[in-house]
Point group: C4
Chain length 232, copies 4
């Protein structure tokens, strides 16, 4: 795994933006980023922390090179462009800072998607606080998991429009988890009725973790339907 933290030349940032634009086209086509939903970021500097992130309210199927802003660790737009960053910028900053600080490995990119399955599962399972995924081979697609014989409880946070309040809840939960082992305690989280946040050391890793989570959400949801149908 290679992180996206590169010598911060303009070219490297432009390349990162091109790859985020490709993510937008792909995720829109896969129905994970419809309308102006979703936001994507990549870490372009680690010290001090800086991210490029999708600007607010953009159609993800047609992101242009100017549909991104550069923000600092507090989510402040520092590129003088006057563009507004995505409303959920604070969550990207939180993940990019908190996960490595807790020992969860480098974070080079954060992806947030809104699929049908993540929307309905996160709404249905909010009362129990997580979506439980257990026993599936595809779990091995998540970082540090080497067997199907395991369980991943994807945390669900009640949705909120108050990013400070929501960040606080995420920080509180994440701080109680054990990030010391080779396998992160969680690989993403859900906002109820909203969608998935996941991340990776590189943009390719984050994209893979989206793909794996989405597959598993569909498996869990369809598996419940099948179990109900097959029950005598």
């Amino acid at each position: 795994m290679v992180t996206l933290v590169q010598p911060d030349t303009g070219d490297a940032t432009a390349d990162t933006i091109d790859r985020l634009r490709a993510i937008g086209r792909e995720f829109h086509a896969r129905s994970w980023s419809l309308g102006t939903s979703s936001n994507y970021s990549a870490v372009v500097s680690r010290d001090p922390l800086e991210l490029v992130i999708t600007a607010s309210g953009k159609d993800k199927s047609a992101l242009g090179p100017d549909d991104f802003v550069r923000v600092d660790a507090a989510g402040r737009v520092g590129d003088g462009s006057g563009r507004k960053s995505s409303a959920e910028t604070l969550l990207h900053c939180l993940i990019a800072e908190l996960v490595p600080a807790l020992g969860g490995g480098p974070v080079g990119a954060v992806l947030h998607t809104h699929s049908v399955w993540s929307t309905i599962l996160s709404a249905a399972d909010l009362p129990r606080g997580h979506v439980r995924i257990e026993g599936y081979e595809m779990l091995k697609g998540l970082d540090g998991i080497g067997t199907h014989d395991t369980r991943e409880d994807v945390p669900i946070f009640a949705n909120s429009q108050d990013m400070v309040e929501l960040s606080g809840r995420i920080r509180s939960l994440f701080s109680t988890l054990d990030w010391s082992g080779p396998r992160p305690p969680v690989h993403g989280f859900l906002l109820s009725g909203h969608g998935l946040y996941t991340w990776g050391a590189s943009l390719a890793d984050a994209r893979r973790q989206v793909e794996i989570h989405e597959f598993l959400f569909e498996v869990v949801a369809r598996g419940r339907l099948l179990a109900a149908a097959a029950a005598p």
Copy 2:
């Protein structure tokens, strides 16, 4: 948001038609406009009101430049082409005229689609008169909605082949709604067993509102299935 009301040169109309043709190819590929179903219009003059609209009975996957007609506020074809406008032209004219007149903001384009989910939800929920969508983040993709913590009741009208009668029912309901706030009371409506009408200030806005409604219909329908399966 920019409306489609442009200086009405032939070029502007040709460009509008090109974009409506692209909508047809896209919506056919997404299974929202199969066979000769669906119709699309754009306002090309506001005073007097004139729209370009798909001609009757055309395959939406392969609309040609001549598969459109220009109609006035009463739905009359005024371009001397002899082509017949879509059977549902009156509904497009009604929306283009009524929604702004009631204070619902400019309407630059009206899109009508026939998806599987809108067909079955509108049939199932006709007795209660609407499809209720509540608590989902994706609602923020509809004009003027800024929080997930809200409810959208998409009205359902019993289907009819009599457009005058049907227009009357829509006009009656719409006239009782409060269009004075920044958020329109509805963003579209359903015909039972038939499909969705929605609109926007521009064609891009109307396309986004189709995408958001369709996503939410799928979420509502699949959410019911999951809820039924998970019930003990």
Copy 3:
């Protein structure tokens, strides 16, 4: 509607074959013609009746110009190529001959597809002998139907590998139907656990009738699931 019956030059046949190949690529991509399933034909001569039809056992995603044979009204390959026609050739010949003879309008093309929804609906509803489709606007996409306020019972025949026996059952049922009106009594039929046969005056018409039937089968099946989920 224009039939495919053209002056039977080699060029016209080559063009027909090109269009059947495009149908194969499209239908495979839409999951209606997987593996070597499905077969497609077009009438290239009416008097005497001759069809071009897919050869037996070909991958429908990659039909070549030589993957077709020319057959007479009895399904005999008459082009000296030594190629074998599709096993279900007799059903194509039957439709091309019987439907017009009964007054059901010209038949220029016959398409047979194997979708998931047609497979499971035709198996589930075989005991009642038809799939009932009622009240949906999309029914207007079938030839001669002008209102949603109607019912289409798509006949289901028990599947068989004996095409002579099966043709006899289809002929028997079709001969009892009233084909005298502007609306055909049926627009296609199902073989149980197998798939759909439909037709049209032109290949474009037959393709549209496939698309409409498939949409409606999905609507009927998903509508049942939704109704069961929503029941108190």
Copy 4:
């Protein structure tokens, strides 16, 4: 059917690899090989047995020419590249050797996929040891099946990370089956909560058998849902 066993020139192997890469792109697009899941192999020498197989941990949507290794009958990488073969290499070797040895015809390619439907069906039906597929016309897409009026029980093995142990169980079951007739007793098998293994004399045959199995898994699963919904 033509096997892939060709004079083992570098060109032939390069061509085989190109076709395996195309399989990866296609299967990723069809959601059968997400993330780094799945693995594909082709026999490039029969005596001694040698396969080219996907290297471990590669993204199947973007396989490069160097993302393959050459292994012998025991799964040992013999090309001096230092690359690691897929974790499940032993299963590919087992199939390539055992199935022909038992009389099950030549095996030129082995494909392993992870779809949603195979994942949930193999988990749901593990207690009975197989997924039963019965009465569907599409069964004729499997090698040696000439009628819908038949039954295919696709064996399910409990998933394991121990390939030696798992190979032993597969070998035990396969050795008890009757491979002497024109129709193989099974055409593939499932690992529970994991996915499908199937094979063919050529890569095209193996691809077709994936397509047919996947279609039938979807039919079986959706058919159960429909049956439950339609039950009174």
